[in-house]
């Protein structure tokens, strides 16, 4: 059965017990306290940033630390999250703080076990993994050679008990865990690729519309298409036996709509203009191909004429 990780509630109190020669008189040199506080806050802000979910609305200022005092008569400074946070929409901070408590506790648990590799492996991008592991390195070494523990007050009586031992991440180990950016090789460039995707538009309570990419297909597999189920011009209206799908794409400052099967390549500054051009071309091509005998058309145009006559169900005057 997996060991249960004790959760440190950052909103209440985080006690750091700093031992060593410098604190034997139950005082802490200012530069040590300041450095430990800075590095701890930096780690917590980094974890808070990556704890956010896509829809969370907050400000990271709400996750700064406050120094709340010392455990009586010892070199054990106490910290807590900002006690006067800026109010945010939907009161998302409570949930974010819960996530942050869990993430911070898990990282400290792994620090205690010396399992720094697992901390690095928790994050799926090189950038985030490097960011977190750097903050962990800074924090675990913030008190120099002095041993540091996260402790909590005993529920009954005086004193405190250890929660996590802050094991130091060595420079060698840090260098191993930090993933160095690979220099792009000039002769090994990935060619620029395009893709098409499906975007879900969601309107929030505030009326703000958010876009979320739900599906993505590389252009080799899929293209943007336009479904046309009738053709309408000033002269004629065409009813079709089935819809025709046209590929469309941006070309320079305009749009091109095309379907090779119908020899249609329409263009316009806007999609609407291109569609209008498409309707006119469809009308003219259909009429012209049927005006000419097959013997007057190339093999390709004979096949295209067949496609038109197959797809057009009925033509009426508009």
């Amino acid at each position: 059965m997996a060991e249960q990780i004790p959760i440190v509630d950052l909103t209440k109190e985080l006690l750091l017990h700093i031992e060593g020669e410098k604190t034997k008189n139950h005082t802490i040199p200012w530069d040590v306290l300041r450095n430990v506080g800075d590095k701890l806050q930096s780690l917590i802000l980094t974890l808070a940033k990556y704890s956010l979910e896509e829809d969370d609305v907050t400000t990271l200022d709400n996750f700064t630390l406050e120094f709340t005092g010392f455990y009586d008569g010892s070199a054990t400074p106490a910290f807590a999250l900002n006690t006067r946070p800026t109010p945010t929409l939907y009161n998302a901070d409570d949930k974010i703080k819960q996530n942050l408590n869990a993430d911070f506790s898990k990282v400290m648990y792994l620090v205690d076990k010396g399992n720094f590799q697992q901390i690095a492996d928790t994050y799926n991008t090189q950038e985030i993994s490097n960011d977190v592991i750097t903050k962990v390195f800074d924090f675990t070494n913030a008190a120099g050679t002095a041993p540091v523990q996260i402790v909590k007050r005993k529920t009954k009586g005086k004193g405190y008990t250890k929660v996590f031992n802050i094991r130091k991440l060595s420079k060698d180990n840090y260098d191993t865990l930090y993933i160095k950016k690979k220099e792009p090789k000039s002769n090994n460039k990935t060619p620029e690729q395009t893709a098409v995707g499906k975007v879900i538009l969601k309107q929030g309570k505030s009326g703000k519309v958010s876009k979320k990419l739900s599906e993505i297909y590389m252009e080799n597999d899929a293209v943007l298409s336009l479904k046309i189920d009738h053709i309408l011009t000033l002269k004629n209206k065409y009813e079709l036996n089935s819809p025709i799908y046209f590929q469309f794409y941006q070309e320079g400052k305009g749009i091109v709509i095309e379907n090779e099967q119908f020899d249609l390549f329409a263009a316009g500054k806007t999609l609407e203009q291109a569609k209008q051009d498409l309707n006119n071309q469809f009308d003219h091509t259909y009429q012209r191909l049927n005006q000419l005998k097959d013997g007057q058309l190339s093999d390709r145009l004979v096949a295209i004429k067949k496609s038109y006559n197959f797809i057009v169900k009925k033509v009426t005057k508009a």
Binding site: E258, R288, S298, D299
Partner: protein, 109 residues
């Protein structure tokens, strides 16, 4: 980004063998050996032919964009175009079969 003048484009098309439809002045056909091979549409309002219109017209003419631009700027000829259409199998020349002429001379005895 290439831009072509509409008037120049129409002139070039006609010069290189495209014929203009009498009833639809913006519609051009390329005939070869009494067959229509390709058709294209120019803009209705004589405005400059921008990138996207060049793309559409070049596809209608069965050319790629650089070829179309050269075709309109007259660095490619009608012969170049026919050669291109042949290479794409759009124009198939039926080989001429000459009737063999017998040229038998009587041997003198």
């Amino acid at each position: 980004m290439a831009v072509l003048k509409a008037t120049k484009t129409k002139q070039s098309l006609k010069k290189k063998g495209f014929t203009q439809d009498n009833s639809h002045h913006h519609y051009f056909e390329f005939w070869h050996n009494d067959k229509v091979i390709a058709t294209t549409y120019t803009s209705h309002n004589n405005e400059d032919i921008d990138d996207y219109l060049i793309k559409a017209m070049s596809k209608q003419c069965l050319m790629d964009k650089p070829f179309f631009i050269e075709f309109i700027k007259c660095t490619k000829s009608q012969d170049d175009y026919i050669a291109l259409l042949k290479s794409k199998g759009e124009i198939v020349d039926t080989p001429k079969i000459d009737t063999p002429v017998k040229n038998i001379k009587k041997k003198k005895k």
